[in-house]
């Protein structure tokens, strides 16, 4: 069974001991695989995932073919961002965009924990607020910022969650940023020219974070500050080898 002080997921670490103890017997460590759908707009939520590593995308889908990234989370988050008693689904898809692991718990046991503890529910609601702020800033970014600014913001958000080496394929990145694949290739070339990143097939490495922050032109930072205000510091992700 997991020990609260050894888990990487910030929400699990942040909850009162008694609440973690209530969840603990029901937590199961599972792998998250690229493109795995762990919640979908078409089904009742059966399980709730608390990532230990990796990245998940929150995706509104329209007409079965239009899709964009509205938010993302890793060890800072979880797949249930509504927590409303009696609500068992949400018309959003959650898809894994970088491999990792997660603690999985049935929606039923998760709901029981909320029923039993106002403190637990309060933490969940704070997380909901943090996600609303993140999704709002993602909308601002998609609408008012250029592709390189959006890409810089997105790479910073990924770096916060999994470190400097980001295993990203351009095809998937294109969907996240709502551009065509050639546009991603073009802008990665531009960011490389600034010395901010190094790209090779299937991998982008952040070389210079402060340059990326400059290139994001103010589109990065507010949701991260709100998360830290409400819940706690992100800290630096642990290297995979030591997990």
């Amino acid at each position: 069974l997991p020990q609260q002080n050894s888990v990487q997921n910030i929400l699990l670490r942040s909850m009162p001991e008694g609440d973690f103890a209530r969840l603990e017997p029901h937590l199961e460590l599972v792998d998250l695989k690229l493109r795995q759908v762990i919640a979908t707009e078409r089904h009742v939520i059966q399980d709730v995932y608390f990532p230990e590593s990796g990245i998940c995308s929150v995706l509104p889908v329209a007409s079965g073919r239009e899709i964009i990234e509205a938010g993302l989370f890793g060890r800072d988050g979880m797949t249930d961002f509504v927590h409303t008693p009696g609500v068992d689904r949400i018309p959003l898809r959650v898809m894994v965009q970088a491999d990792g692991q997660a603690w999985r718990i049935s929606a039923e046991h998760f709901a029981d924990a909320g029923d039993a503890s106002p403190g637990f529910l309060r933490l969940m609601l704070k997380y909901s607020q943090a996600m609303v702020v993140q999704a709002s800033h993602t909308a601002l970014s998609h609408g008012n910022f250029t592709v390189p600014e959006r890409l810089a913001r997105w790479l910073l958000m990924c770096q916060d969650r999994i470190g400097d080496d980001l295993p990203m394929v351009h095809d998937f990145l294109a969907m996240m940023l709502a551009v065509r694949r050639a546009g991603v290739t073009d802008q990665i070339h531009v960011l490389e020219g600034h010395g901010a990143i190094k790209a090779r097939r299937g991998m982008i490495t952040v070389i210079d974070r402060s340059t990326l922050i400059d290139l994001a032109e103010g589109s990065y930072g507010q949701p991260e500050a709100e998360y830290e205000r409400l819940i706690g510091p992100f800290g630096r992700p642990q290297p995979t080898e030591s997990q």
């Binding site: 979908t40 899709i67 095809d171 290739t185």
Partner: protein, 94 residues
């Protein structure tokens, strides 16, 4: 389906497509090239740049150029296709 790569040539520089993508055929890749050219040009114009002589080179896995697409073609020729938007993997995982 075949894997094709859409590289970009722009004012003397070559921006390689390191990953490629699966297309039904070369025509399918040309459709993607057309809409990619429109996206890139509109982004550049929005950022204060002028249209230039950029073009795409479409190659197969052996690196052989199988087609080219000039960005100017997107400005002067009628649309090749309805904008393709769906992602082939979108509904594959659930």
């Amino acid at each position: 389906m075949q894997k094709l790569f859409i590289h970009q040539r722009r004012t003397g520089s070559f921006i390689a497509d390191p990953e490629g993508s699966l297309y039904r055929d070369i025509e399918d890749a040309l459709d993607d090239a057309e809409w990619s050219a429109r996206d890139l040009m509109s982004e550049r114009i929005r950022n204060g740049e002028l249209p230039d002589d950029s073009s795409f080179e479409i190659t197969d896995q052996a690196g052989v150029v199988v087609a080219t697409y000039s960005f100017n073609a997107a400005l002067t020729a009628p649309n090749r296709s309805v904008r393709p938007r769906s992602y082939s993997w979108l509904n594959s995982s659930d």
